[in-house]
Structure formats: C-alpha cells, structure tokens
C-alpha cells in the first residue's frame, strides 16, 4: 500500500477541501456496512487513518517531512482536462461526452540533467527495399547519426526473414564504423517483422538495463505475414519493460493498421514516409524529441462508473494516433517545454441511473521522470458531471470543437476504408464527397482533389489505390500536425 495520499487518491498539493471530498467519497463505498468485501474493514480503517492525519495541517506537515523526497515532489507536468459539457441531462438514450486532456511540461530545462537515450533502429532489408528505398535510408542515416547526443547509445538491427545485428549499444563516438556498416547493408529475402522486432527488444531488454529511455524505431516497407499477433504480444511485453516502439512505413504497401496497433500499444507512433525529406524530418523530430525528453512510460489508469464507457481515445499532439482503449492506456512520453493532447470520448447511459453525480473517470497519469535518478511520479484527477433533469444550454470549449472538427475528418476516412472493405461502395463514395468539400473549407485543396480521384477509383474499380488510401489517411491525420513540419532540407 502506498502513502496516505495514495490511499485517498490525492496529489501532494491537495487542499483541505479536496481531502475532505475524497474522504467522503471513499468512505461511502468502503464502509463495511455497505461493502460485503471481507477486506473492506481494513480498507476502511486505512482511509480513516489517512484522513485523520491529512485533515490536520500540523499532523500533515509532520507526515510530509517524513515522506521520502522522491515521493514529496510532484512531477512538473501540468494536466488539465476540459469537458464538452459540465452537466449531463438525464435521458433514456446514451449520450456522448468528450474530454480533452492536456499535459504540459513546466519543468525548467537547466535544473535537471538529461537522461541517456538508447535508440534501436530496426531496419527492413527485404528484397522490396532494394534500390531507391535502401539508398534513401542509408543517406538519411548518415545525415542523422551525427545529430545524436554524445551520451546516447545506438543499436541497429536489420532483418528480412532473419535478423542481423549491425551494432549493439554503440556509443556515438564510434560513428564512423556504424556509418560503414550501414553502407554495407544489402537487401534480400522476405519481410518478417517479428524476427527483427524480437532481436531489437531483446537487445534493449538485456543491454539497456539501468537505461530508462529506450526506443525502438522500426522502418519497413512491407506486410508481414502470419506473425502479427506475435508482434503485438511482443510489443505489449516491451511496454511493460518501458520500451517504446515507433514505426515508419516507407512507400505504399505496408500494413498501416497493424503498425498503428503495434506502436500505440507501447505509446509510440506511426508515420508515413513518402519521400527522402519526410524520412529526414521524421528522424530529426524523433531525435530532437529524444534529446529533450522529460518523462516517459506515461500511462493513464482509470476507473469509470458503471454508467460510463470509454468509447474511443485519441492522441492529438505531438502526433495524432488512435489509442487502444485498454486500461491502462499508454500515452507515450513528454519532452521539455512541450504539450501533449488527448481526446477521450465517453458514452454515458443515464436511463437507469438514480445518482446525482456520475464519475466519468477516476484516474491517474503515471510517468517515469528521467531527471537524474529515475523516479516514478503520478498525477491524480477525477472527472465528474452532475446528472440533472434539465440542463442549460452551454457551449463546448472551443478547443474541443476545433480538435473534433479535424478528428472527424480522419474518422470519416477510417469509415470510408471500412465501407470499401465491406463492399459498401456507394456510402463510401458519398462520404468521400462530403470529406472533400470539408477539406476544401479547411483550405487543403491537394488532399481534397486526391479524395475525389479516389472516389472515382472506387466507383470504377471498387477499391482504393494503395497510394491514395495511405495519402488520405495520413493526410487527414496530419491536419493536426503541430508544430508544423520543419522546412525541408535539400
């Protein structure tokens, strides 16, 4: 069991009112009279004890002094949450509520040392990568390696139907030998992502002990066959060990749905690489982000009331990614001076509910702060809405509207793909026309035109062109890309 603050689910900065509210909230459910659980009595006593201490400022101060330093400090990350409405109307049918969560790192950079980052690049060297694509990878790696910070470590694994270890936990000063090895990569064989990923994960797992910030970057251009489930299982395992996986898809043939799932299950992201400049920019962004990392392994644990269901979750910043609605949800990492945004969609059913308030979520964000000695940190928060017979009309916060206006477009495209897969061409084409006109109002003419071309394709051939589908999917996603991609480097 944690300290008194943990017991009541509070921050160290909690006010007396917070403490009182949390206490009454918890006793109501934990009271042995109300709770048949045999452990309830013990739990109840713990809550009592915690409250007795924290309610009294003097006792609390004494208790705070006694807490270890690491536990006393709250992480320098500010979490704010906005709801699309504060009160819910009691009605027969389920209704939607959106919550926009923003995490902002407010730590000052000078105060704390940066951690060492261990990057493991897992590079596809199957036959299809031969030629231009591999040349592009090689050229960009030569450009990007010098950008890594001297304290960082690099491992490189190449794979086709078997993995090859190019270099393992090499410090950056051996850069010339790494560059030479990269130059000598030759392409042959098929794509088996699991093989490469396994080698990468093993390497970070064993070689990276004591190294808090570990990141696998997978570059691939093809479908993997038959080992998807194994990959996802491996990713879940890697996540529990604090390893993040990001993926970069080259060209148009790779399996975007699979790579999305792979990356999000570890808090990472997927990007679509369409050109040499794209690859450079993405690698550059990754390394820039890694050089400024403040905390990682961020997870969101939550508990909803039985009337509430988390319907969908998205990360909006830094990269937009659909998140898996597991519990806990991996949220990735956060860099100094940066912001992350997440949007949660809750479905609330008030039809059989007699309560006056509903807890959308009682959750906490946990993270590992890399500053100096790695330490665990957490931020608690709670989202509640009153349930009323009549609610006054209120405007949802403008941030939620503007986030959803873009997210909706991305979701429309996801539905288009699903419809085409199901053979419902008419509804897909119709929706694509809507999507195109919405994009025009957003001022994105290029993407709108692409969609109209694809709509034509579906009418004629009953499928997307692979190129078009990826362009639209990642195009609608990149409507969010903030900050704007850096200017291209020739």
């Amino acid at each position: 069991m944690g300290d008194y603050y943990d017991i009541l689910g509070l921050d160290r900065g909690a006010t007396l009112d917070d403490i009182r509210a949390a206490y009454f909230d918890m006793v109501r459910t934990a009271h042995p009279d109300a709770n048949p659980d045999p452990d309830a009595k013990e739990k109840f006593l713990e809550i009592q004890e915690a409250y007795e201490v924290l309610r009294d400022p003097q006792k609390r101060k004494k208790y705070d002094n006694f807490l270890p330093d690491a536990a006393k400090k709250d992480p320098l990350v500010k979490v704010t949450v906005k709801l699309s409405k504060t009160d819910v109307k009691k009605m027969e049918e389920p209704q939607l509520i959106y919550a926009l969560m923003e995490m902002e790192c407010i730590a000052k950079e000078e105060e704390i040392n940066h951690p060492q980052t261990h990057y493991c690049f897992v590079i596809d060297r199957s036959t299809s990568m031969d030629g231009e694509r591999m040349a592009m990878v090689k050229a960009n790696f030569l450009k990007i390696l010098p950008k890594l910070h001297p304290r960082d470590l690099v491992s490189i694994v190449t794979f086709s139907d078997r993995p090859d270890l190019l270099c393992s936990s090499a410090p950056i000063d051996s850069i010339t030998s790494i560059a030479e090895k990269i130059q000598n990569i030759t392409c042959s064989g098929s794509t088996e992502i699991y093989k490469g990923l396994k080698a990468g994960v093993d390497l970070l797992r064993l070689g990276g002990i004591g190294n808090p910030n570990r990141h696998i970057i997978l570059l691939t251009d093809g479908h993997t066959y038959g080992d998807e489930e194994a990959c996802l299982k491996l990713a879940a395992e890697a996540f529990t060990q604090g390893i993040m996986i990001s993926a970069m898809g080259l060209g148009f043939e790779w399996n975007d749905v699979f790579l999305d799932r792979l990356a999000t299950s570890t808090g990472g992201s997927t990007v679509f690489v369409n050109s040499k400049e794209d690859l450079y920019n993405y690698l550059d962004q990754k390394i820039d982000h890694g050089n400024n990392i403040y905390a990682g392994n961020i997870i969101y644990e939550y508990k909803c009331d039985p009337e509430v269901r988390l319907k969908s979750a998205f990360r909006l910043q830094p990269e937009i990614m659909p998140l898996v609605c597991n519990n806990p949800i991996p949220l990735g990492d956060i860099a100094y001076r940066s912001k992350s945004q997440f949007l949660f969609e809750y479905l609330v059913d008030t039809s059989r509910c007699t309560k006056e308030v509903v807890h959308l979520t009682r959750g906490r964000v946990r993270m590992e702060v890399f500053s100096g000695a790695a330490s665990q940190a957490k931020i608690n928060f709670k989202l509640t809405s009153r349930i009323l017979e009549n609610v006054e009309r209120e405007n949802p916060p403008i941030e939620i509207i503007s986030a959803l206006s873009k997210l909706t477009l991305y979701q429309m495209q996801e539905r288009n793909s699903a419809d085409v897969d199901k053979g419902e061409y008419y509804s897909a084409v119709k929706r694509m026309h809507y999507l195109a006109s919405k994009l025009l109002t957003h001022g994105d003419r290029g993407l709108a035109r692409q969609i109209l071309i694809e709509a034509e394709n579906i009418n004629n051939k009953h499928r997307f062109s692979e190129e078009g589908e990826k362009r639209i999917k990642y195009g609608t996603r990149s409507l969010f890309l903030l900050p704007e991609p850096k200017p291209r480097i020739s």
Partner: protein, 172 residues
C-alpha cells in the same frame, strides 16, 4: 438522437460533429457571421433634408440606377452594386437561405428584423421594395406595406424593417 441537418444521419446526443458528413452539430454563441464590408462614410447628418438627385448627362440615361442604403441610426452607408435584386435580413448560423445584405451588425436582432425581411429590386430603372412576409412588417415613409406586394420608392425615402430605419439613396 440528433439528426444531422445536412445529411439526416442519426447521431447520439452530445455528438458535436456528424460522423457521416462532418457537419458541426452545435452552434456557438460566438457567431462567425459573414458581415458585409462597411465603408466608413463621411459624417452625414440624418436631419439634413433629402439631397437632390444629381442630374446626369444624356449618356448615362441608359445605365441602371445604383442603390445605396443609409442606415440612419449608425449613420453608415452601404453601397449596393452589380445586381438588380437584393434581399435584406440578418444571418444566424445554420440558416438555409442567407440574405444578400446582412443587417446584424446594425443591431438587427433587437430592432426586430426578420432573417429574410424585405427585398429591394430595380425594375425598369425604378426601385421597388417588397416585404417578404416578415414578422414585424416593413414601412415606407412610416406607411406599412402589404407583404409580397411591390412598392415603388424614390430617392431619399425611408424604409423601416421592424424598427431599423434605412434611407434609400438612388442615383440614376
């Protein structure tokens, strides 16, 4: 259920955007009304008697008359051009038919202007005003007009949409 006004797709209550066509389903109080360009006019005293219509040379006889609207309360003048028919009203979000001239910057709502209140038309070089079935009616020089009937007006006449007074300036 909410019905999307654009494509009739059903959405759950609380949805903010239609998942089918992307239409925004909630309106904000912060109206993004498209307001017409307001040209600041020279200070024009509404007390001044009707200015004489400037006589034109014979060459300009064939040209259509041009209209200007003098909003009496605010003293502003709107110049209308390039068309022979203008509808007057005010714009709110989600309105299917928009008036050509949006009077909401001139406090149209509180003065009782309907969304589609009246039309000004140029027929055979004559200007007529038609009330389009507005709630609070239209008056020409204080005289209430019958809805959907054309009333010819002259240079300097004052029409009232609800309580909003507009002087019509015609230059032929």
């Amino acid at each position: 259920m909410i019905l999307c006004p654009n494509c009739q797709h059903k959405e759950l209550p609380g949805a903010l955007f239609c998942s089918e066509c992307g239409t925004q389903l909630v309106s904000l109080d912060i109206l993004n009304t498209r307001s017409i360009q307001k040209t600041p006019s020279e200070s024009l005293n509404p007390q001044i008697k009707i200015p004489e219509a400037a006589p034109r040379s014979a060459g300009s006889l064939q040209t259509e008359p041009t209209l200007s609207l003098h909003i009496i309360d605010s003293g502003q003048i709107l110049h209308l051009a390039e068309r022979s028919e203008f509808t007057l009203g005010r714009t709110i979000e989600g309105q299917p038919i928009l008036p050509d001239i949006d009077l909401s910057p001139f406090d149209a709502f509180t003065l009782g202007v309907s969304r589609l209140h009246a039309a000004l038309r140029i027929i055979n070089r004559e200007v007529v005003v038609t009330d389009l079935g507005s709630s609070n009616g239209t008056r020409v020089n204080g005289q209430k007009v019958v809805p959907h009937v054309d009333y010819p007006i002259n240079h300097g006449d004052i029409i009232s949409l609800g309580k909003l007074k507009i002087q019509v300036l015609i230059s032929k």
